[in-house]
């Protein structure tokens, strides 16, 4: 078995990101699309933490990546609240959460 | 009433004017005005005795000056009413022109209270035990006209409680109020003086004359007419309280008189049969033997299953097998029953007409027994004339045993349908029955039913609705009092189903009303008659077409044979 190195985490992160991206492109349900976006954010977070961890030395703990993740999480929470509020408003107006049914601009 | 209008006289009951025939007594007159005058001893079909004094009323006549024979007028020019100073008994006083009756005055009220008090002095008040409770005039009048409490503190008379005065009648001397209706009934209706009064004063009581018992076939009528619970029926005694019982108008099937009856039942069980007043048929009487007919409803040999070759089947299978047999038959003999209703006879006629057989023999089996010239006639079939009217048979001749046997033996008849009749007594023995297709329809098993290929249970008169035509050609209907055995279709319903299986024209449903729509359309004598339209007292039907038929009835209460 390999020793677990940065690469392993990066691969997981990239896979997670692509899964999320795939989901955003594939799914038509706004809520699920939103979830997939969260997955993508998570992937980024994972990569950041991994970089931060593997670049740390005993003298210099390299906290910046972690702090960045902290910001991301905070902003993500705000984003979820706002996004879901928008979805609720949308649902009230259109009674649907399917992206391909929200075609007001096309017409 | 047959009196023409101009002969009627005016009577005023509590100020209400009614027109009555001369000679009508005051009780009946008041009744027409809708005013009830309480009475015990008076009975519409018995002579007036006037011994209970319950019907005391105030009476007044238009004043006439004796000397001048001129009406006495008051200031307004109206004739003055001269009121009698003392009350009169309404039962024994006949209406005269301009008669005035007052039933609501203080005097009348006090009279009634006094009479009720005297009647109740020695009455045992054992209503909880008494069978009459619920239909007891003493109870009713005590609440309506009594004073409501008793002033009597002394001990009451004690008299014998259970005196058998006849095989079917028990006398409770304590309860008797000595109205004498039973005594008069014996004397005037059954014309056999059995009962009379004995002892004196408050010990006075009813008793049989020495050596006599009340064993006449009409003895139970005294139970009906007894206004209190003094005379009770051994059959109904302590069986059920009358307020639980449902009353269903019916017709007695004992004979062709067609006595009107009421069937008293509770939860599907019949407890007694009493006569229903019909002044052109049976007045208010009926025979004791007729009252016992309800016992045939729940007996051991009651037929309750459709069977084919002895095996129980459902009604649809029986209908199919029946229809199959009819369709295959070369010759059919039908022994119809004079106990069937008009509707069933009509449907049976249709059924036979629908069968493709070449030879068809239909006979109503006559039941001739000795009549009593009162309410039991010689012809014991209640609906002989119905069979004629519906066209089921063209005459009432007997089934010639020899003829039937010969026809069967010759093979021209291979199917025999018997409705409620035992064919072994008509010349067909078991060997022949085994050869035949034998269909037995009946309420009860009989000797021949065990050889039946198909057996159809029928309902008794109490379990179905329908109508009979009695000896006077009077169409009378009866209603269903109790449900039939479980799973048994009504006779009409079975016949309708059978007609349907034979692809014949059928009424909308098997109810009497639906069948009657067809009957009234096809039978000229019944034209315009609907089942609902048959009145309670019956509907006279034109029977002149059958005047030549050899009817066997003798004279009875309201019937005189044409040849007499």
């Amino acid at each position: 078995m390999f020793a677990i190195a940065l690469n392993h985490y990066l691969i997981v992160a990239s896979l997670l990101f692509s899964i999320g991206f795939f989901g955003v492109m594939l799914r038509r349900n706004v809520i699920v699309m939103f979830m997939c976006m969260e997955l993508m954010l998570n992937a980024a977070n994972l990569a950041l933490v991994a970089f931060s961890r593997f670049n740390a030395t005993p003298d210099h703990p390299m906290m910046d990546g972690n702090v960045f993740v902290f910001f991301v999480i905070t902003v993500a929470a705000a984003e979820v609240a706002t996004g879901l509020a928008i979805i609720v408003a949308l649902f009230r107006k259109r009674a649907t959460v399917m992206a391909d049914e929200l075609t007001a601009l096309k017409k | 009433m047959a009196e023409s209008a101009d002969k009627l006289i005016s009577v005023f009951v509590d100020g209400i004017e009614v027109k009555v025939a001369p000679g009508t007594n005051m009780i009946e007159a008041a009744n027409m005005a809708g005013v009830e005058i309480p009475h015990y001893c008076y009975h519409s079909h018995l002579s007036v005795a006037g011994n209970c004094r319950m019907c005391l009323v105030e009476m007044g006549t238009p004043g006439v000056d004796r000397a001048t024979r001129q009406p006495i007028l008051d200031a307004d020019g109206k004739q003055v009413i001269q009121w009698m100073p003392k009350p009169t008994i309404a039962c024994a006083t006949n209406a005269t022109p301009g008669l005035h009756i007052r039933t609501k005055t203080k005097l009348v009220k006090e009279c009634r209270e006094g009479i009720m008090e005297f009647l109740l002095v020695n009455h045992p008040l054992d209503c909880p035990i008494c069978d009459q409770a619920g239909e007891c005039h003493l109870q009713e009048y005590a609440t309506d006209y009594g004073r409501g409490y008793s002033r009597y503190v002394e001990d009451k008379n004690v008299k014998p409680k259970r005196t058998m005065i006849g095989p079917r009648v028990i006398l409770d001397n304590e309860r008797c109020i000595l109205c004498g209706r039973c005594v008069r009934f014996c004397k005037e209706v059954i014309k056999d003086e059995v009962l009379g009064f004995t002892e004196r004063g408050s010990h006075s009581t009813i008793a049989c004359y020495p050596g006599k018992t009340l064993d006449d076939n009409y003895s139970l009528n005294v139970v009906d007419i007894c206004p209190v619970g003094a005379l009770t029926s051994t059959d109904f005694r302590f069986k059920m309280r009358v307020w639980f019982l449902k009353e269903t108008p019916s017709i007695c099937t004992e004979s062709s008189v067609g006595v009107n009856t009421i069937v008293w039942s509770r939860e599907g069980v019949i407890y007694r049969i009493t006569p229903r007043r019909n002044d052109v048929v049976n007045d208010t009487w009926m025979s004791d033997s007729g009252r016992m007919l309800y016992k045939e409803v729940a007996v051991e040999n009651r037929s309750t299953n459709y069977t084919i070759e002895g095996k129980p089947v459902g009604a649809p299978e029986a209908v199919a097998a029946f229809a199959d047999t009819l369709n295959k038959a070369r010759g059919i003999a039908v022994l119809a029953s004079g106990k069937s209703s008009v509707e069933e006879m009509f449907l049976l006629k249709k059924l036979i007409a629908a069968a493709p057989a070449g030879k068809k023999l239909v006979r109503v089996v006559p039941h001739v027994e000795k009549g009593d010239d009162f309410l039991i006639s010689t012809d014991r079939n209640p609906n002989t004339r119905g069979a004629l009217l519906t066209g089921l048979v063209d005459g009432i001749g007997a089934v010639d045993g020899g003829t039937l046997k010969a026809l069967v033996d010759s093979g021209s008849i291979d199917t025999v349908i018997s409705v409620n009749e035992c064919v072994t007594s008509y010349g067909l023995d078991r060997e022949e029955l085994k050869k035949l297709n034998f269909i037995y329809m009946g309420t009860h098993f009989c000797e021949s039913s065990q050889y039946a290929n198909i057996e159809v249970p029928l309902l008794t008169v109490f379990e179905k609705e329908g109508s009979f035509v009695n000896q006077q050609f009077r169409l009378q209907k009866f209603a269903q009092a109790v449900p039939g055995p479980e799973g048994v279709m009504s006779d009409s319903a079975f016949l309708v189903a059978l007609l349907g299986a034979m692809k014949a024209k059928v009424p909308a449903n098997a109810s009497a009303a639906a069948v009657w729509e067809q009957i009234s359309a096809e039978v000229p004598q019944f034209a315009g008659v609907s089942y609902a339209g048959i009145p309670a007292e019956g509907l006279p039907v034109d029977g002149s077409a059958f005047a030549a038929q050899p009817f066997v009835e003798g004279k009875s209460l309201h019937y005189t044979p044409a040849n007499a």
Binding site: - | D126, C127, P128, I129, A133, D155, K156, N157, V158, K159, P160, K161, R162, R200, G201, H203, R237, F238, K239, M240, R241, W243, F244
Partner: protein, 181 residues
């Protein structure tokens, strides 16, 4: 009627926090906790049955041991849930010719009975009495449908002074022996 509008008393600051109310409420419950319980330990302790309690209806006998019920069926008639079913019967007792009628069977379906007491109310012979039996139970439904024997067993004797049949019997004997007129 004139409608008078009452202004609600404005709440003080302390009242608006609800805390004093909550605390006083807690005090009340605490005081309740310290009080002894009022529970009746049922199977061991029996409740005191008040006078006029409507328990299981039972049939009673008179002090002579005669059944009082004459099967008049008024209770059957009046019973709202139709719990009573009487089969009337006759007693041919030459000793007491006035005692003519008694139930052949008296069926009281306690699964239906609602203990309303109308049967006791209506009984002209004071033969059916709602006594203080409050616990009637069984493992089988059939046993809850009480019959005549069981009802008399439960009812016992009603010690009233009303010797109706005795009086009748005596009077009948007197009438038979000495002709009074």
């Amino acid at each position: 009627m004139a409608i008078k509008v009452l202004d609600r008393k404005p709440l003080s600051l302390a009242e608006r926090t609800y805390l004093p109310q909550i605390i006083s409420g807690l005090g009340i419950t605490l005081r309740n906790m310290l009080k002894p319980p009022v529970t009746l330990q049922y199977p061991e302790e029996k409740p005191v049955i008040p006078k006029g309690y409507r328990g299981v209806p039972t049939l009673v006998k008179d002090p002579n041991g005669r059944e009082k019920c004459v099967s008049c069926q008024l209770c059957e008639f009046v019973c709202p849930p139709k719990a009573i079913r009487i089969t009337p019967g006759e007693i041919a007792d030459p000793e007491n010719p006035h005692v003519e009628k008694a139930p052949k069977d008296f069926e009281l379906n306690m699964l239906r009975c609602i203990y309303c007491g109308l049967c006791e109310e209506v009984c002209p012979e004071e033969a059916i009495v709602l006594q203080d039996l409050y616990s009637l139970n069984s493992e089988a439904r059939e046993e809850i449908v009480l019959h005549k024997d069981k009802l008399y067993e439960l009812g016992g004797t009603l010690p009233d002074k009303h010797f109706k049949w005795d009086k009748k019997k005596k009077a009948a004997e007197d009438a038979a022996s000495g002709d009074s007129h």
